[in-house]
Amino acid sequence: MSRRPTAIALVFQYGILIIAGVFAFYPVWFAILASGRLGDRLYTLNVVGMFIPTEWTFENYRAMLVDKDLLTWLRNSLYVASLTTVASVIITTSAAFALSRFRFYGREFFLIFLLAIQTFPAILSLVAIAQLLTAIGLYGKHEGLILAYTTGTLVFSTWNMKGYFDTIPIDLEEAAMIDGCGPVQSFILIALPLARPALAVTALLGFLAGWGDFVFANVLVPAPDSMKLVVPGLFSLAGSQNVPWGYFAAGAMIIIIPTIIVFLSLQRFLVAGLTVGGVKG
């Protein structure tokens, strides 16, 4: 609002912002502190240590990176997440291209149908997917996970990309076609570069599907430890009684902090890519 706020209003506003800011940041801050505390000390007995760093050691980080499987898990997760990203971007872009640039029989049905089947809870199709993957010999393998994740991203990303492509005028492509390009070529040369925000969002969502998921990774690749992805790996670490919580905190920081930084740096991009495409969520 345009009115200059009074002093009381200003104090009030900053008060709310500061309380909300503490609420927003404290869990992350707490984990940072815990990650620098010696592993076997689960709780600091002085309350001060829960808010400001009274001691700091990199021992937990060293232990996670050297003694534990964290690096292997990270490599597995990066492998799965990046292949999911590539597959998801290629598949959804091509489908969104067809759905946005052509009018064909069954197109509307297909779009609504995509939305409708997506409402079937993913956790509940896991049994069938696990059986299917067992049958084709991909159960317990990363490739099976990649298949499951990629198909999991299809609906949302196809809708989102199609929505974004629809906002790009087709006139430019038609001009290129008059000059002798085919529809596919002109789309790739002209519309795709313009759709960079939507592509970025699709890529990010594809990456996060593999990076942050717990349930699928936990069920489809249960063992051995060297095959695990980083999220289920850390989760099981936190659940076992004989592993210090500081290890978990250090491992969690190693993957949470980069994720937050990527999100924050892509923030504007993300909001634009999601809202222009018409589907929000």
Binding site: A31, A95, E108, I117, F120, G212
Partner: protein, 405 residues
């Protein structure tokens, strides 16, 4: 419109849609069909394998397909068969939903919502009439009063207890509905408050606060790990109790008590979800022309009047889809509850725990008790429910409008 016609065009379209089509058919449609079939069988850990000779099992279960036939495990247990009657799993789940007391209990719960629904209708009526005998705020307060009256009058507490003693399905779904009804308005209010503050121009440092307040959304992609951190706050020796002990208060064991465990999950999930509202509302606020406020200022409108007459109506189209979609995701929340309580505290053998929301219940039925028949029946009922909700929300928000032209 792209040129090309005839066979070449059809071929191109098919080629481009093909991977999506196959992916969706194999990983979405097929699981739904198999699930629906399993939901009428007694498949569980004692009857794990299909009897390939028996009709549909041979067709639908992948281990029966000729290519994979040799992989059919022949271990312990008997093959599963179709239940008699075939809807037995559904009957077990729904329990005595259709008995007199349960329906009565549902009805009295529904009565509590009526005053709020009435406010909307009355408000629209006033708007058409052009003059308002009482303001909207008064209407809402009145509705809340009537609702409280109903709660006391119809003994809603007892009705709730009746429902909670029913079949698993009612218990779990009603609890999840309660969770959505508490969590979504809370995230909306928090998001709205923060967005309104961040939108004011005379506030040094608001970019800093915007980034800071955005952090939970970034962390929510790793929800299950962050939820473990939240669990730590609420533990018996956790941060909250340590701070409380400074003031000489003995804290509760928050996650062991059904009510506080529920509240803890609401708070943690609020943390993940308010930034989305904040960003969505902030975007909508920035599209409101300042002239609207200047005009209101000239007419002497108070801040509250500007908020209820200008701001809220103008951002409504943008936040409605966000609200509906958030409600559907909140209904399917899994990670937060799983990491914090894993569905507990336990209320008794064979009963869902006090924070077992729909997805937690499904996960436990599949992977812990391995009662596939019941879990898939649950899935089918939920699917019908969510499918209806999604279609309704599409109509309500006109999300697909324009996208289909």
């Amino acid at each position: 419109m792209v040129s090309w016609s005839g066979r070449r065009r059809a071929f191109t379209i098919l080629l481009f849609v093909f991977p999506t089509l196959i992916g969706v058919l194999v990983f979405n449609v097929y699981p739904i069909i198999l699930n629906t079939y399993v939901s009428i069988t007694n498949r569980n850990k004692f009857h794990p394998y299909p009897d390939c000779a028996a009709g549909l099992s041979g067709v639908l279960d992948p281990v029966c397909w000729p290519v994979f036939r040799d992989k059919v495990p022949t271990g312990l247990g008997e093959p599963y068969t179709i239940e008699t009657p075939f809807y037995q799993n559904y009957a077990d789940l729904i329990g005595d939903l259709f008995s007199g007391p349960t329906l009565l209990a549902l009805l009295s719960l529904a009565l509590v919502v009526v005053p709020f629904a009435a406010v909307g209708a009355v408000d629209r009526r006033f708007q058409k009439m052009g003059d308002r005998p009482v303001s909207t705020t008064v209407l809402w307060i009145g509705a809340a009063g009537v609702a409280v009256l109903f709660v006391l009058l119809f003994n809603v507490r007892a009705a709730w207890d009746t429902l909670m003693a029913g079949g698993d399905f009612i218990v779990v779904v009603m609890r999840t509905v309660l969770f959505v009804a508490i969590r979504v308005p809370l995230s909306f209010l928090l998001g709205l408050t923060l967005a309104l503050i961040l939108n004011s121009q005379h506030l040094p440092g608001r970019t800093f606060f915007r980034v800071l307040l955005f952090i939970p959304w970034a962390a929510s992609s790793l929800a299950i790990l962050v939820a473990l951190i939240w669990q730590f706050f609420f533990r018996e020796q956790g941060t909250i109790n340590q701070v409380l002990s400074l003031f000489g208060i003995d804290g509760l064991s928050w996650l062991q008590n059904p009510t506080t465990a529920f509240a803890a999950i609401v708070i943690a999930d609020l943390w993940f979800s308010y930034p989305f509202f904040m960003i969505a509302i902030l975007g909508a606020l920035q599209s409101i022309p300042t002239e609207a406020y200047e005009a209101a200022e000239v007419d002497g409108a108070t801040y509250w009047q500007q908020l209820t007459r200008i701001t809220l109506p103008l951002i409504r189209p943008a936040i409605l889809p966000a609200t509906v979609l958030t409600s559907i995701t909140a209904f399917q929340m899994f990670g937060t509850a799983w990491a914090m309580t894993a569905g507990g505290p336990v209320r008794g053998a064979g009963q869902p725990g006090a924070t077992e929301f729909v997805m937690v219940y499904a996960y436990k039925t599949i992977f812990q008790t391995q009662n596939y028949g019941r879990a898939t029946a649950f899935a089918v009922i939920l699917f019908v429910f969510l499918f209806g909700a999604t279609l309704y929300s599409l109509r309500l928000t006109r999300l697909t409008k324009g996208a289909l032209e």
